[in-house]
């Protein structure tokens, strides 16, 4: 967040290259200046995922083991030292740390992120089972953020330094200053408890879940499944459950998009080509929505890469608030159960997801803006 703020303001609007998480890619691209095109850029950028993920895994693994092993953390005090030692030996936690580390890495290479201690589920299975719910929530939230952020940012840029601008900017700051779970609480109080319009929590009603069970090969997205079943009441069931979580998570990023669009738009509105369009008699509204908007949107794509990392963090809180059974909700559950094998596994998986999505965003940015890939 912080860096977004500084960056959005310091970067030249028309020259916002790959920023933030994609910094290594920038250096890699620069090293290849002159030779190679898009394909080469994508390949270099893809190979950079490996060190990033490896570093994170190493850091997280050793950090989690500094203080002890997961079994002592989960059961310490409840078992006698002898029993503890036996359990640790069974799970292989008495081996040298470096062996455990290599063992873990080898497991990850084979797609094995470990097995949770409390309910003996492979962590990879948690991903397939709950990852879809998180992805669905994040997609909704991005839509909400774009719908809120882009038009309001344009409005703020046009009303620069006037009351409308000030109000919108304070709104954007409020969106950032309000924790997701507090927004969730307020939304619940007003729309679920007060007005009774929307359900309090969950992804679907229990009756809807029964209907949903009939579908043959379900997608991770409830919305798609509901459309495929063609059941209107089921569709509303799914949508009504998603509205509040999507708004809570989307407001957070919407504020950032608003500021970003505003800053970049102010920059582009001062560009000579906008002036020349204005002198040709292009209307002011068309100037903002056409001429100045497109270049102002490029940084949004690059920042979106960083936002995905932030949204996954926000998803943990949103899912906990609304009992939306996704990865974040499970993470919080396992944290409460002090199952650190599961926590470590989910965190690692999220790291991989973040790295891959950053890569995808960089590729998209390179496709759109040739300056990025040099």
């Amino acid at each position: 967040m912080t860096a977004d703020l500084t960056r959005s303001a310091t970067d030249e609007p028309a020259d916002a290259g790959p920023s933030g998480s994609s910094a290594p890619s920038a250096t890699a691209g620069r090293g290849r200046r002159g030779g190679g095109g898009l394909g080469r850029y994508i390949l270099t950028r893809f190979l950079l995922i490996i060190p990033t993920v490896l570093i994170l895994m190493t850091v997280v693994f050793f950090l989690m083991r500094i203080t002890g092993d997961p079994i002592t953390a989960a059961l310490g005090g409840r078992l006698t030292p002898d029993q503890l030692a036996q359990r640790r030996a069974e799970a292989g936690y008495d081996r040298p740390l470096i062996i455990q580390y290599l063992d873990y890495l080898w497991g990850v290479v084979r797609g094995d992120f470990g097995t949770t201690y409390t309910d003996r589920t492979p962590v990879a299975k948690i991903l397939t089972e709950y990852g879809g719910a998180t992805a669905e929530l994040v997609v909704y939230a991005v839509v909400v953020a774009l719908v809120i952020g882009v038009p309001l940012g344009m409005l703020a840029a046009r009303a620069r330094d006037r009351w409308g601008d000030l109000a919108l900017r304070v709104l954007a700051i409020l969106g950032y200053a309000t924790p997701v779970f507090f927004v969730g609480l307020l939304l619940k109080l007003v729309f679920s408890v007060g007005l009774g319009w929307l359900p309090v929590a969950g992804r679907i009603s229990s009756r809807g879940e029964l209907t949903m069970g009939k579908i043959l090969n379900p997608t991770p997205f409830y919305l798609l499944d509901a459309i495929r079943l063609g059941d209107a009441s089921l569709l509303w069931d799914v949508i009504s459950h998603a509205i509040l979580p999507a708004i809570a998570l989307g407001l957070l990023t919407g504020g950032i998009f608003l500021r970003l669009v505003r800053t970049n738009m102010i920059g582009t509105l001062e560009m000579p080509y906008v002036d020349s369009a204005r002198s040709r008699g292009v209307r002011e509204s068309r100037l903002t929505t056409r001429h100045a908007l497109r270049p102002a949107l490029i940084p949004i794509i690059t920042v979106m890469g960083m936002q995905i990392a932030m949204m996954l963090g926000g998803a943990v809180l949103t899912e906990t608030t609304f009992e939306w059974k996704g990865l974040g909700y499970m993470l919080a559950e396992y944290m409460t159960a002090r199952d650190y094998v599961a926590v470590q596994g989910i965190v690692m998986m999220l790291a991989v997801i973040v790295a891959i999505s950053n890569f995808l965003v960089d590729v998209i940015a390179a496709l759109i803006d040739p300056r990025v890939r040099y």
Partner: protein, 350 residues
């Protein structure tokens, strides 16, 4: 700086602008002679600001000062202790709606909401100060060394910082809090654990900023001159580089402070915060209030939440204003009117 800049003849508009530039130059040279405290980050920004920007800065400062004052005078302001469930032998009762005795009601555990909100400022300020100061020192030191020494050390540190930076900060804070406190939270330990967890998230930000500045400055003639006359590495780093690379620090400082409050609240909300009996923490209170909300009990969650919003809002407004005032593209000028493109467009659309 009293010589007016050359004026093209016959252009009254630019002539006027010329005199205004001269006036601005006089202001600039005057600021250089000002007393030191007037050149301190926030005070100089306050003096430079104008109009709506000043309004935002002042509003932010009022909120921040309010937060600090509340934290300082918490024992005087709070009607009860943060862990008190009874006074004069009479229990407060649980989930009582706001009343005369408890202006903001009581929680599910029977604490007085107002008192917990007030005591919570202490926790927030303590964690914020610890986290930001810690990450400032570590991040600046690492950035200086990495940028100055360069080589493989630099490459490794940059890679580490980038990897950590790309990681969702909340997850990192969760991992750190597991590491530090094993998920358990004692009295002062809880505050320190939260602060260190947040520090790890922030260090890469300071590192990146300072390192970038140092790499740029290292090639400047004055650094080379210092090297030529035989100045030691430590002195070059501590004097020549450090003093010239701190320009953007106040901004990151304020923005990080607000993020520290949010991360603390998020950790508390997920149950990794501080025990309710050892300190009052807003995120924890919100966690407990989630269940209340379903049954229509609004006061247990609303007020801690508003406290978080007010604290973060204050710090962010200050940071935001500093950002605008540092960036000439965003700064509202004191005098110039009817400038070129930018102003015309706003006037035409307003």
């Amino acid at each position: 700086m009293t010589i007016p800049p050359p004026q093209p003849p016959g252009e009254s508009a630019s002539a006027q602008e010329g005199t205004e530039l001269a006036a601005e130059a006089a202001v600039v040279s005057a600021t250089a002679r000002e007393r030191w405290y007037l050149r301190l980050p926030i005070i100089s920004h306050l003096r430079r600001s104008v109009g709506l920007q000043r309004g935002m800065l002042v509003a932010g400062l009022v909120l921040v000062l309010g937060l600090l004052a509340t934290a300082l005078f918490a024992p005087l302001l709070a009607p009860y202790g943060f862990a008190e469930t009874s006074a004069d032998g009479a229990s407060f009762g649980t989930q009582q709606p706001p009343s005369g005795a408890h202006p903001l009601g009581t929680t599910v555990a029977g604490y007085d909401v107002l008192s917990r909100v007030i005591w919570g400022t202490r926790t927030a300020v303590a964690v914020m100060a610890c986290a930001v100061v810690l990450s400032l020192f570590i991040g600046v030191a690492l950035g200086l060394i990495s940028g100055y020494v360069g080589g493989w050390l630099d490459r490794i540190l940059v890679m580490l910082a980038d990897a950590i930076y790309a990681f969702p900060s909340l997850l990192l804070a969760i991992v750190m809090s597991i590491v530090i406190s094993g998920g358990q939270s004692s009295a002062g330990g809880g505050i320190l654990a939260a602060a260190v967890s947040i520090t790890v998230v922030f260090v890469p930000q300071y590192f990146r900023v300072i390192r970038a500045e140092v790499v740029r400055l290292k090639a400047e003639p004055f650094v080379e001159a210092a090297k030529v006359i035989g100045t030691g590495h430590r002195r070059i780093m501590g004097t020549h580089l450090l003093r010239n690379s701190t320009r953007t620090l106040p901004l990151i400082f304020t923005l990080n402070s607000s993020e520290a409050i949010l991360t603390l609240a998020a950790l508390g909300f997920l149950g990794f915060g501080i025990e309710p009996t050892s300190a009052s923490e807003w995120g924890y209170d919100l966690n407990r209030a989630m269940a209340d909300a379903t049954s229509g009990i609004w006061w247990t969650g609303l007020f801690p939440g508003l406290a978080i919003v007010a604290a973060v809002l204050g710090v962010t407004l200050v940071g935001e204003s500093i950002n605008d005032l540092n960036d000439p593209r965003l700064r509202v000028r004191r005098k110039r009117r009817g400038g070129p493109a930018g102003t015309t467009s706003t006037e035409a659309t307003a």
